[in-house]
């Protein structure tokens, strides 16, 4: 477990004038399932390619177990990559694909055979050794790619959107499989994806990236429940971002004003008068009968009800014009809501998170959103 420690120090990559990676510092511990998450163009893939050695960093260091390998060519780095396109060798059989890299590790023929067999068993493809990659399905091909990398027993495995080309059902199966393999082998996984579900379900820690920087890096639960910025809140899961004005804090939380309504947040990192948005997850918003009074209650009107199977999303237009999404479970206990129904929206103080407003992240749409005729 001592192997597979990756440390990025001030890593910068520029392509001409374009900055792809803008000074990243990161420490991935041995055996960790670490995910880099972000929209396309945020620098996550470039960072991975820098670690793999396909790109040369403009500045900074890449340390594997304490040794700087930023000037080591890819074929001498003890990290292996699984590509989104699988990148299998079409002219070689599955067996030869998996055995490809063993040629560069001093191992006997018998050892090659044993290790290839083990790797194929690990990804449950024992039967397919003599097939050509093109005779396998997409999911099977990606498992071959995985076996081909893992057979070399790298301390760190890099995965570049490995499930990106697969359909949704298969993706979920392979997520479970990847996690199982990672836990079984105790290999450090550095996983790049733009899919938040993948990031949340598999990772020990997630770094949310934006424009070449790490926006926030923490465990999935922390990222989801206490996002540090509006960008993270918006990117990870559904969220309501309501523009508010921050009042003077007192012992019992911070007063916020949403238009003419007063709210209270238990925790507020921002000072009085700052531009802010209050973030609340749709599943934490409560719908109460019209006329209910109390703290953090705002009247509104149901604008749209979207049926989503196990729950429904109710979009409520608050009295000040802000649109709030509410997740309501379909469990027979909730009264049927219809478009135009007046309701009272409860935004519990302990679930309200006050974040700095971010011009690039759209907050809850105001009244100009097309309103369906009542």
């Amino acid at each position: 477990m001592s192997e597979g420690d990756i440390r990025l120090v001030g890593l910068v990559k520029r392509f001409g004038d374009a900055v792809a990676v803008n000074g990243i510092d990161l420490h991935v511990t041995p055996g960790e399932f670490f995910t880099m998450l972000g929209p396309s163009g945020c620098g996550k893939t470039t960072t991975l390619r820098l670690i793999a050695g396909f790109e040369r960093p403009t500045e900074g260091k890449i340390l594997l177990d304490g040794n700087d390998m930023s000037r080591t060519p890819p074929h001498k780095r003890r990290v292996n990559t699984v590509f989104q396109s699988y990148a299998l060798f079409p002219h070689k059989s599955v067996y030869d694909n998996v055995a490809f890299g063993l040629r560069y590790q001093r191992v006997t023929k018998a050892e090659v055979k044993r290790r290839v067999g083990e790797a194929m068993a690990l990804v449950r493809l024992e039967e397919f050794g003599q097939r050509r990659p093109s005779q396998l399905s997409g999911g099977q091909q990606q498992r071959v790619a995985l076996a081909r990398a893992l057979v070399l027993e790298p301390p760190v495995l890099l995965l570049d959107e490995p499930l990106g080309a697969l359909d949704a059902r298969l993706r979920i199966d392979l997520q479970v499989e990847l996690k199982r393999i990672q836990e079984q082998l105790e290999v450090t996984f550095i996983y790049v994806t733009h899919d938040q579900d993948e990031a949340l379900t598999m990772s020990d820690r997630v770094a949310v990236m934006r424009a070449g920087n790490i926006e926030q890096c923490d465990e999935p639960r922390v990222l989801y429940e206490t996002p540090a910025t509006a960008f993270v809140a918006n990117f990870l899961g559904a969220s309501n971002l309501v523009p508010v004005a921050v009042g003077q804090s007192h012992g019992d939380g911070t007063p916020l004003s949403l238009g003419s309504f007063d709210l209270r947040a238990e925790n507020c990192p921002l000072g009085h008068g700052e531009d802010a948005v209050a973030m609340i997850r749709p599943e934490n918003v409560r719908l109460e009968p019209h006329g209910t009074t109390g703290e953090n209650r705002v009247p509104g009107m149901v604008e749209e009800v979207v049926y989503l199977g196990f729950h429904q999303e109710v979009r409520v237009r608050l009295a000040n014009g802000t649109l709030v999404k509410v997740d309501v479970p379909n469990d027979d206990e909730q009264a049927e809501l219809e478009q135009g129904d007046p309701v009272c929206v409860h935004l519990p103080a302990r679930h309200l998170r006050v974040l700095a407003a971010d011009a690039a992240v759209p907050s809850a749409p105001a009244a100009e959103e097309p309103v369906v005729a009542a």
Partner: protein, 305 residues
């Protein structure tokens, strides 16, 4: 062919003329007719030339029965017995083999190099490399002639000059073909190979070259066809009777007493070309077995044309 069966079925239902001519759901008959007319039009001269190669008389315009006289039966005038025709044939084949053997590996290496070379000058080099494809061959040949009679006088005219000349313009085609294939292979497999520990030479040897075999087969075929077909460059850089190629011989004999032996000679060349084409197709099929039919056909089409 299959259009007739549709027609017989259709007449039973008394389809109006208008429907038959312009039925948007029917077969595109008009297009089929145009295509077949073109195919027949382009094949007729070739078939005629082949037909006269088997003429038993001396005429190249009137049919006089069938024979193999002009291939080898005639003791003095057949391709097999006429030393000038024989030497033209061997020289053409010899030249084609030399050109194939040099242009294909050199062009492959160039294409691989161009792929790696990203930076100032690479864009211009890319264009210059493909320039011979559009340069008028006559201009190119005259330039080559000047070169081999002055600056490269030590080489002089002859087989070497002809080979160099043909390699020079064939190279562009090879680069074009190999580059097309490289584009479909993609960079991922190269990176994957390096990632798995293969040093740069092994990436080329174990991954790229095997994947390039189909493109190289196509290149061999194209250089063979270009070389055998070449007239202008061979003519300008020839040094005498022993460097006369088949096209040169056919051209010069066309004026003074042509016999069907010329047709026989051309037929033999056509036979070689068809054989090469079949061989290249076979190799391509073998080597791209692992890939989907569709993509293989697509790349072959791209590489051939």
């Amino acid at each position: 062919m299959s259009a007739t069966s549709v027609e017989t079925a259709a007449t039973k239902e008394r389809v109006s003329l208008r429907d038959r001519l312009a039925n948007p759901w029917g077969r595109p008959r008009f297009l089929a007719i145009v295509t077949w007319v073109y195919i027949i039009w382009s094949l007729v001269p070739v078939l005629l030339a082949i037909r006269f190669a088997f003429n038993s008389g001396r005429s190249r315009t009137s049919l006089q029965g069938w024979s193999l006289r002009w291939f080898w039966q005639d003791p003095t005038l057949s391709v097999f017995h006429d030393p000038t025709l024989q030497s033209a044939l061997t020289h053409s084949l010899e030249l084609a083999l030399i050109v194939m053997a040099i242009a294909t590996p050199l062009g492959t290496a160039l294409a691989l190099g161009m792929r790696r070379w990203i930076g100032p000058g690479s864009g211009i080099a890319n264009i210059v490399l493909l320039l011979p494809l559009v340069t008028p061959e006559l201009v190119f040949a005259v330039g080559m002639f000047l070169l081999f009679t002055t600056a490269f006088g030590f080489i002089g005219l002859g087989t070497t000059a002809q080979a160099i000349g043909q390699v020079t313009f064939t190279l562009s085609w090879v680069v074009l073909i190999v580059r097309g294939r490289l584009a479909t292979i993609g960079r991922d497999v190269e990176e994957a190979a390096a990632d798995l520990g293969a040093p740069p030479l092994h990436v080329v040897g174990r991954v790229l070259l095997p994947l390039l075999v189909p493109a190289m087969a196509a290149s061999l075929l194209v250089s063979f066809a270009l070389s055998i077909d070449d007239f202008v460059v061979s003519q300008y850089l020839a040094s005498g009777a022993d460097t006369t190629t088949v096209p040169m011989r056919i051209y010069s004999q066309a004026r003074g007493g042509p016999t069907p032996a010329l047709n026989a000679l051309a037929t033999i060349m056509l036979g070689f070309t068809l054989f090469a084409l079949a061989l290249a197709y076979f190799v391509y099929q073998m080597m791209t077995r692992g890939e989907t039919k569709e993509s293989a056909v697509k790349t072959l089409a791209m590489e051939m044309g």
